[in-house]
Amino acid sequence: MPYLANRFTIIVIAALMFQMIGLPVNTIAASEEEIESLIEQLEDKSGDTRIYAATRLGHFGPAAKAAVPALATALNDEYAPVRQAAAQTLKKIGTPEALKAVQQYEAGEPIEIPGIPSVVPTEQSTYLLSAGRNLQTSAGLRYVGLGLGLASLAVSLGDTNSDSTLGFTLATLPGQAFVGLVAPYFVGKAGEQLPISKLKF
């Protein structure tokens, strides 16, 4: 019993000393297994679990530096609370890589993931977005062509006067020909956007 009392006293004194010299007393002992488990939870489907994992990792302080790449990735999470929790935890971890990621996050810059070569997703996504837009432009032009074709078909089925039907069909023909000729151009343009391999990673 006196042994336990002495031990408790030592812990209290140590905690007070840490408090005095400014070390965080809430930094709990690092458990490698728990950190690993929390890193995995950062990928969980549930947003709440990801928030918990990001927040809990902060309790380990600098001892959770192995979680920096995962937390830096979490700065791109679709849920703002996860991103905020990850940013707070990275600040608590405080390594240069962690602080750099937070700085990039706060500045709205593409975040470099520590340990993985830099990638600029926004640049790649611009190409992909442009390719998608071009495919849709092509489809839009073809809709116009099909609309004109359907209109002339409807007129030819409904109108017995062959002269006026022929006149309408001839009137729509240049439009159909134009969109028919231009639509494939945009497919090729989409194709120009996709070879993103020209980017240097």
């Binding site: 790449p69 791109n76 997703p121 190409y127 977005l129 390719a131 998608g132 495919l135 809709y143």
Partner: protein
């Protein structure tokens, strides 16, 4: 530990590793679509001009004009059939983007499926349109109203199938845009 870190940043990692390859293949296939189409159009127009130029010889050298007409028909068929087949290559290339991320994968698979559905529907639409044209010509030659009516139905089916093909094409474009927005912060 390293394994789990890599797993966490899978989509970004895979973008770097694989985006170039499948992007290049799919892009080349889409450019092939354009080049095949315009090649076919130029060839058809050239055949038409040559056939028109040779028409004064029709009385003496009928076979020359027939050859011109056959060349024109073949070019027109090439213009219709060759471009959609390159979409198949684009679709299968997009399918190789298999490990972007779980969501990115699904979008790319879906875009690929849409492109392939578009090809099947385009071919079916072309078959219906060509069949309708043949039947209409046959009906006009024989003065057969029933053939002309059936040709109209085939023409409507052709337009409908082309419309569906276009919807799939449109959806593929939308999926690419959605994947792009998923890649943005």
């Amino acid at each position: 530990m390293a394994g789990s870190n890599l797993k966490i940043s899978t989509w970004i990692y895979i973008v770097k590793a694989n985006l170039g390859d499948w992007g290049y293949d799919a892009g080349t296939a889409l450019q092939m679509y354009r080049s095949r189409f315009y090649k076919g159009v130029v060839s058809t127009v050239r055949a038409g001009v040559i056939t028109m130029g040779l028409s004064p010889l029709a009385e003496e050298h009928r076979e020359v004009v027939y050859a011109g007409l056959i060349f024109m028909g073949a070019s027109a068929l090439y213009t219709l059939l060759a471009p959609p087949s390159s979409l198949d290559l684009a679709g299968s290339s997009l399918l190789q983007a298999d490990s972007l991320s779980v969501d990115g994968n699904q979008k790319m698979r879906s875009a690929s499926l849409n492109l392939r559905q578009s090809i099947a529907l385009q071919f079916a639409g072309i078959a219906a349109s060509v069949g309708g044209s043949v039947l209409a010509t046959w009906g006009a030659i024989e003065d057969d109203d029933s053939k002309l009516t059936n040709a109209s139905y085939l023409a409507i089916a052709g337009v409908g199938l082309n419309l569906l093909a276009n919807i799939m094409f449109d959806r593929a474009g939308r999926k690419l845009k959605q994947t792009a927005s998923m890649m943005e912060r």
